[in-house]
């Protein structure tokens, strides 16, 4: 994207006032999307961004500047701004030798979305609309979205690293509204992978549409969710976001370093039930949160965070790792060239266990079964979290019975981790997610097997 001698001169300019570390991150991203609503293709949108972010670290301070001008003079000007912002006061380093990072991409792309005729993308939306409506007259509204992106990045720094990556993502989501005597209910389904248009060889949009429509229709007959603390069984795939929020964020080294995590200072301790092994894995081919190198040039890794209930390690980016004299765990990510990298998750999941899902259910006298959790948030300092339940059922006498209307689920991360008393053998990844932190969104994946949380979760329903 940028020639090596230019990169070297930009890094030299960034270090000209003295720097412990300087970095250039170049990004070129093309995105396209198409939206169907109310039976019509409402719009097609395409866009293009390109630019570079330059980071200079002096002691504990980071200076950062970005530019959309990728000419040498534009880059040098941004490098000088970043150097000034870092307020270094010393001599510049000389030109650094750059070593190419050889990281094999976990992703392979067969059909570049940019090569697919727009008409074919539109066709997917129309099919989904038709199939969702065909599920019954109760379906009164359907919206669907197709989106793809192609992101190319280059990272080079004064440690001598030079890495590139090519990241292609394809996504399809559908939302159906069902109307009945009890009002309107919404059902959703989405699929997104770090692959090309061949995504639709493995997934039929018709199936996604039927699933979304059935979720909405089922909820028409749903009763208000109960309220209070109860036993909760979480279904495979659909509940992974809970571990992302409830413990993943608390294991990010930047938050730990500021004392803003309940897991600070607890490495080596039992923090979860011995059934819990939690992994963050940027190498899971095709998943929404994977890549060859992170946005600091570090190859993706599979990191065990909690092993059999014992806290093994946090997740690290380059800055925090450097301060601790260790290496990054490949979790330095950023939304775009306009943002500073920080510690972020990739694909975060709980490993499967020995029980069958049927055994777990049969052994649960009463409680709530959550097939699908929606968005959520966590206060990492306290561990308190909240999630929406988008598909949930009552458990009565060891069986799933009536559907429940939407409600929130609240709990405390460390509390939930120690209250897991059954883990199933049916591991599945969940849908594509966007994780927000400090104003930046990055794509992430998550997954869980069926599991039971015996106490510590409160269902916030509206039933008296």
């Amino acid at each position: 994207m940028i020639e090596e001698p230019i990169i070297q001169r930009v890094l030299a300019a960034a270090s000209s006032r003295g720097a412990d570390f300087a970095e250039i991150f170049v990004e070129e991203k093309r995105s396209s999307s198409a939206l169907l609503d109310d039976g019509r293709i409402e719009e097609l949108t395409s866009g293009r961004d390109r630019g570079a972010g330059i980071r200079v670290v002096v002691g504990e301070s980071t200076g950062f500047a970005h530019t959309s001008d990728l000419s040498e003079s534009g880059l040098i000007a941004a490098a000088e701004t970043a150097a000034a912002a870092a307020r270094g006061s010393g001599q510049g380093t000389t030109i650094v030798d750059l070593d190419r990072v050889h990281a094999k991409s976990p992703n392979s792309v067969r059909i570049m979305p940019g090569d697919v005729p727009k008409a074919k993308k539109v066709e997917l939306l129309l099919t989904a609309n038709e199939m969702a409506r065909a599920e019954g007259a109760a379906i009164t509204q359907v919206s669907a979205r197709y989106a793809d992106s192609h992101r190319r990045i280059l990272v080079a720094n004064t440690d001598g690293i030079l890495g590139t990556d090519d990241q292609v993502k394809t996504l399809f989501s559908i939302s159906a509204v069902a109307s009945g005597d009890s009002g309107m209910q919404t059902g959703r389904e989405s699929i997104g992978r770090t692959v090309g248009f061949e995504l639709f060889d493995s997934y039929e949009v018709a199936d996604l549409a039927r699933t979304a429509a059935q979720r909405a229709i089922t909820k028409l007959a749903a009763r208000p969710a109960p309220s209070g603390e109860m036993t909760v069984v979480i279904g495979p795939g659909g509940g992974g976001v809970m571990f992302h929020e409830a413990c993943g964020h608390g294991l990010e080294a930047d938050l730990v370093g500021k004392g803003a995590s309940v897991f600070a200072g607890r490495v080596g301790e039992q923090v979860a039930s011995s059934l819990v092994t939690l992994v963050d894995d940027g190498t899971m081919g095709g998943e929404w949160g994977c890549f060859a190198i992170d946005d600091e040039g570090r190859p993706a890794q599979r990191n065990i965070l909690i092993q059999d209930g014992i806290l093994v390690d946090y997740m690290w980016d380059g800055l925090r790792a450097r301060a601790e004299g260790r290496s990054s765990s490949g979790n330095g990510r950023r939304q775009s060239y306009q943002h500073l990298p920080m510690v972020r998750m990739t694909n975060t999941y709980l490993l499967g266990g020995a029980s069958t899902p049927d055994e777990i259910l049969a052994d649960t006298e009463s409680g709530v079964y959550i097939a699908h959790l929606g968005g959520g948030q966590v206060n990492t300092a306290t561990g308190d979290f909240v999630f929406g339940m988008t598909e949930a059922y009552l458990i009565e006498g060891g069986r799933i019975t009536e559907p429940l209307r939407e409600g929130n689920l609240i709990g405390n991360g460390p509390g939930v981790l120690t209250s897991i008393d059954a883990v199933g053998n049916d591991f599945a990844m969940g849908g594509p997610g966007t994780c927000g932190k400090d104003g930046q969104g990055v794509p992430v994946g998550d997954g869980v097997p069926t599991l039971r949380v015996v106490s510590g979760l409160t269902i916030g329903g509206t039933a008296a």
Binding site: E43, G47, D49, S61, H66, G228, V386, E406, G460, G461
Partner: protein, 449 residues
Amino acid sequence: MNPEELQQVADRIVAMAQPGEQVEAVVAWSRDTEVRAFEGQVEHFVSADSAGVGIRIINQGKQGLSWAGVLDDAALNECLAEARDNASFGSVDPHAGLAEPDGVVPDELVLYDERLLQADTEEKIRLAIELEAEVRKGDPRIFGIESADYADSVVSTAIASTTGIRRASAETSVYLGVYALAGDDDETTTGFGFSVGRSLQELDLEAAADEAVQRCVRLLGASKAPSERLTVVLHPYVTSQFLSLIAEMLSGESVIRGRSPFAGRVGEAIAAPEFTMFDDATDRLSPTASDTDGEGLACRAVPLIESGVLTGYLHNAYTARVSGTSSTGSAQRSSHRSAPGVGPHVIKLRPGQSSAEEIISQVGDGFLVYDIAGLHSGVNPVSGDLSVGADGIRIRGGELAEGIREVTIGSTLQRMLNDVVAVGSDLTYFPWESTGVTLAIADVTMSGQ
């Protein structure tokens, strides 16, 4: 770049329209500075300019969009060609069309403060460092600072279209914000405080620091409470989040798509008589005030609920056309990358007579809610079902009693609107599109133990 330069870029794009085509161009530029302090030092200092263009083309009822993060000629030409190509794949919509000038003259709001451009970088750094220090010394139980930030931006935008829309403007904004941690070995609480303005002179550092400290310490010792039905008293910060949601349900977009529980109910009583809600888009005291909407029409006051009766919805040009009415100047664009949606600028409730203290004393027995979590995951804007995580203080005998955390409150938004029993006099502005007052709502389910 100044607004005039951006206007020229927009004009140039519009001039390239082909016969039969409607073309709209939005061009934006911003210069942003951000300083984060930690332990008395600069943790990071960000300084950057960014620019972008968004082009919308409507041809024979079909719409296409394209955007670019660069403003050179090659990028503009590619962007226009892409938007044109995209339009050819849309469905024909007889209502599709750009906004047309409606004769409403925009209020000339002064949202640009020259003084920001003269502000000294060292002063910006000092503010972030001092904010952190103020919070740390605000209470001995404060043990950490997650972030202490100073940020400012200068934003210029211009819009032009083949229908005769042409408007450019600039505004400045300044922000100080801090997230703090308090507690001991047994518990941790968090709190934030902020101050916003158009220039450094408008910031109130002490108030932001004090707010963060108070938010942190007031819930130390709070615990889970038993489930019950009771009256909740919402802090203005919480009320503003509820009002944002109601405004979302009153957007023309939700209404025409059958996604609002309030569709087709104009003229009906949907809330208690104390409840009067409107969009006061041009109130300069609000950080989100605007004189022009995302399609270049004048912003104006929009009545929504009058003494409990639904009087209308928020509309952009498209949703108005579908509904057989005119735009209320409520087109909102989140950036140059998106098509204009519909949204409020400054949602307000008509304040009542009572102070927060008076309402707490009148309620006698209830739950003062300081904060809620999971509003977007916990509310179905279609059905109105609502359940959110909450913390606050139990009200007993008209006085504040024990702290409560890790509970949920639940109802439906429709029921809550009807169960409003008191509206406070304490109008409070926030850096998002909704203001707040203290608001008491009867008969809400609190779920805890």
